[in-house]
Symmetry: C2
């Protein structure tokens, strides 16, 4: 592509006014880099519109002039989906100023929010109305609803409430030609034709710009029980999950696994983190149950699940949080892990899903296969095993050179993703494709599926101006 014409830039700035446009390189910098510094892009212009009408006008001008648009929310993504390429011929469309809660309707259990609302603010607005918005992810203080929608965010409450996709009743979207589709319906049931909203959810900004959404609210749980259990192996986690679901009748809201190495890394990096147990154990699970009913039944369910797990030798030791503070401490042992990995040198990250019962076999197979490739690597598989989703992030061998290790990223990914594919899994469970996995995914999807995706892209965005080069290969 060519540089954006001066006249186009001026027309775009005129739409949002000076307070909505950034052209100074220093001010633009934070919009052009992925937070882990994996990608740095270039752009002549960052636009920060304040209304759907402004977004529509911007997209119209871009459609007319063939200017590429990179929509951006809180810029907390992990696959380069919200960063422009290096050519400088794309504009960044940052939705952060569109951060109004348009309506809260507790009797309808809905909240209508603009794309730029920070997730934590939506959680707070729901809470204020006596309701729960259940999406819960590590970046919730920064990430925005539009990004959550465009990437179909996952997180630690999927087991009970589903992914972002499952929390949406309606959308407002600016299409690639600048028209606005107002699908902001707050209905639980509507069978009047094709479901359009699911096309845009998870499309990573390649089919249009989501500007607002009607989201589902839930009753706030009256009771929450959090336990941390030492287990002999991942197989025990799968059985314990099933047992916990049965005993509690589906009240399990979180079920996370981590290995000993993970716990050790967290303890090194978080000053307050302590090993809950006196002995060393190879694996751990964090179990969260929550319920609308108070009165001790949930505590009983957790105790029963752990006691039966102990009888069946699925559990070696366990502790149940006695207070909200303790519950948070136990969660910190899991949540601290994303950051703590840095202490161990290079780690090669995979965000994969597998049918739950096959997860232990996957971890074992991947470990064996990688040992062949990189002897002495350290296995680190952790995360949402309750959803069949782990972050399989093998660490460099102790004392090895991080850069040399990371240079073998694709070689390692090929091994891991090959096994994932063979076992019926997904090479991107929750992070999306962006530019990181755009080409790689082609090896694992059928021709039919790739062609369907390309047809959808061509249908909605024939000139390829919406986040080009992401998700779909050019």
């Amino acid at each position: 592509m060519n540089e954006i014409a001066r006249g186009t830039i001026e027309r775009l700035i005129a739409v949002v006014g000076p307070q909505g446009a950034i052209t100074d390189p220093d001010d633009m910098a934070p919009y052009l880099v992925e937070w882990r510094d994996k990608w740095r892009g270039k752009s002549a212009l960052v636009l920060r519109p304040s209304s759907t009408a402004e977004v529509a006008e911007i997209v119209r001008i871009c459609a007319e002039t063939g200017t590429a648009i990179v929509p951006q929310g809180g810029n907390t993504g992990l696959v380069g989906g919200s960063i422009p390429f290096e050519g400088g011929d794309e504009i960044v469309l940052s939705l952060g100023r569109m951060n109004r809660v348009r309506a809260v309707d507790p009797l309808n259990d809905t909240i209508t929010v603009e794309a730029g609302c920070v997730l934590a603010d939506v959680q707070a607005a729901a809470d204020e109305a006596g309701r729960l918005f259940p999406m819960r992810i590590a970046s919730e203080g920064t990430c925005q609803i539009g990004g959550n929608l465009s990437t179909n965010a996952g997180g630690t409450a999927v087991l009970r409430y589903g992914n972002m996709r499952d929390l949406v009743l309606g959308l407002e979207v600016v299409l690639p030609d600048g028209r606005v589709w107002n699908g902001l319906r707050g209905l639980r049931k509507d069978n009047t034709g094709y479901d359009l909203k699911h096309l845009f959810i998870g499309a990573e900004g390649t089919l249009g710009v989501i500007t607002a959404a009607v989201l589902k609210l839930y009753p706030r749980p009256a009771d929450r029980q959090v336990a941390f259990a030492a287990i002999p192996n991942p197989e025990a986690a799968v059985e314990l999950l099933s047992l916990a679901k049965d005993v509690s009748g589906g009240q399990v809201t979180g079920f996370e696994i981590l290995p000993r190495l993970g716990l050790e890394l967290v303890m090194k990096s978080l000053p307050d983190a302590r090993d809950p147990f006196g002995d060393l154990h190879p694996w751990y699970v964090l179990i969260e149950m929550s319920s609308g009913e108070g009165g001790g039944a949930l505590r009983e369910a957790m105790e029963t699940a752990l006691a039966r797990g102990y009888e069946k030798e699925l559990v070696a030791d366990a502790t149940i949080a006695e207070s909200e503070a303790q519950a948070q401490q136990l969660w910190a042992l899991r949540e601290g892990l994303s950051e703590s990995q840095k202490l161990a040198g290079g780690s090669i990250k995979h965000d994969v899903s597998i049918p739950v019962p096959k997860m232990p076999a996957f971890i074992a197979r991947a470990d064996r296969a990688l040992e062949e490739v990189i002897p002495g690597f350290r296995s680190l598989a952790f995360g949402h095993i309750g959803d069949g989703n782990v972050h399989y992030n093998p660490l460099q061998p102790e004392g090895a050179d991080a850069e040399a290790y990371l240079a073998r990223w694709q070689e390692v990914a090929d091994v891991v993703h090959g096994i994932v594919h063979e076992m019926g899994g997904s090479i991107s469970a929750e992070h999306g494709l962006g530019r990181l996995k755009r080409d790689e995914v082609r090896r694992y999807k059928s021709e039919v599926e790739l062609e369907l995706m390309a047809s959808i892209k061509r249908m909605l965005d024939p000139d390829n101006i919406m986040n080009p080069g992401k998700v779909i290969s050019p």
Copy 2:
């Protein structure tokens, strides 16, 4: 269109063999009529394939010869979506022989079934594996999974488990050119591109033929509480719903409303049905809560909800089922209503949804507006008010001529749907568009939305052979 060529018919029969083809007019008859006898179609051929490969071959031949296909499941639809038109130039593709449960995986909480499986058989297969498949609709003994998927079925457990769309992890679909898309993934999380399955769910067979699906299973509830309450008006139902959700922490699985007239009709038609109360009341709600926890907490929640409702004058009288048999008797008062309406003469049916809190205002407005049009008509609004979905089925005035009343169907529908649209609702909450509402919906959808739908249809089925004339106007 023209009659189907003899040669094409012979080729199609050769695919399935004689046991899979019906050409005798008497044998074809049940496939050509809607069960309420609202539509009767014509066809030269009913095909009953036994495998996905056979479906694919049939569709390939139809694509090559420009032959239109009407996919059909249990043929329990209400909008004419599964009945061919009167021209005789379409074939019926009945999926009933594809009724294998391909896999049950209780540890993954999934079941993989073919499109022709009867819903009740899927429920039973889940139950046998110690799990719940929660879809529950009146036609469950006859309707098939493929039809449930293609119409995004609703029913009486949507409040807790969602519509059919929400119960699906993966699909297998024969596309309009005969290619097979194998999207039979059993993953809770998969963010590797556009979501294709939601395109086909609810598309009423106009975008392809769903041949199999991976469905979600849930823990079987350990406890179920069913209550029947007399209430002063629909406003009380909305408040009581919110109260019941809060008190039980979201354990409400069913919340159905019916007016006095509805109860009377049921008592007339079902010999065993009795009024649970000594006094007459204008409205009733049936409340069902279910929970994985046993031990009395749910009973307590139900009692608390009703007691608080009584204090707030939302509840005039109430009874809680003391046994499973009693629970079924209470449900029969609600479920008998669909059939009982026939006793009252002509009824004009509307399957509408409205945001829950606006439902009482909708019923009042529609009642007032219809009284202007047909003085003396009898209001009958009942159903899934917990989902914001009622069947608003005004009955003919007492003693009036049924045929003359039904002749005014569209006039009445225009009034009712006009109000629904103004209040942000849907003119088809769960039944779909089929041919009944195909044209009418155009008045209520935006140009943008209609164009998006038409683009999707053109993209996937450019020759318009998949259930032509349904959902999308020709």
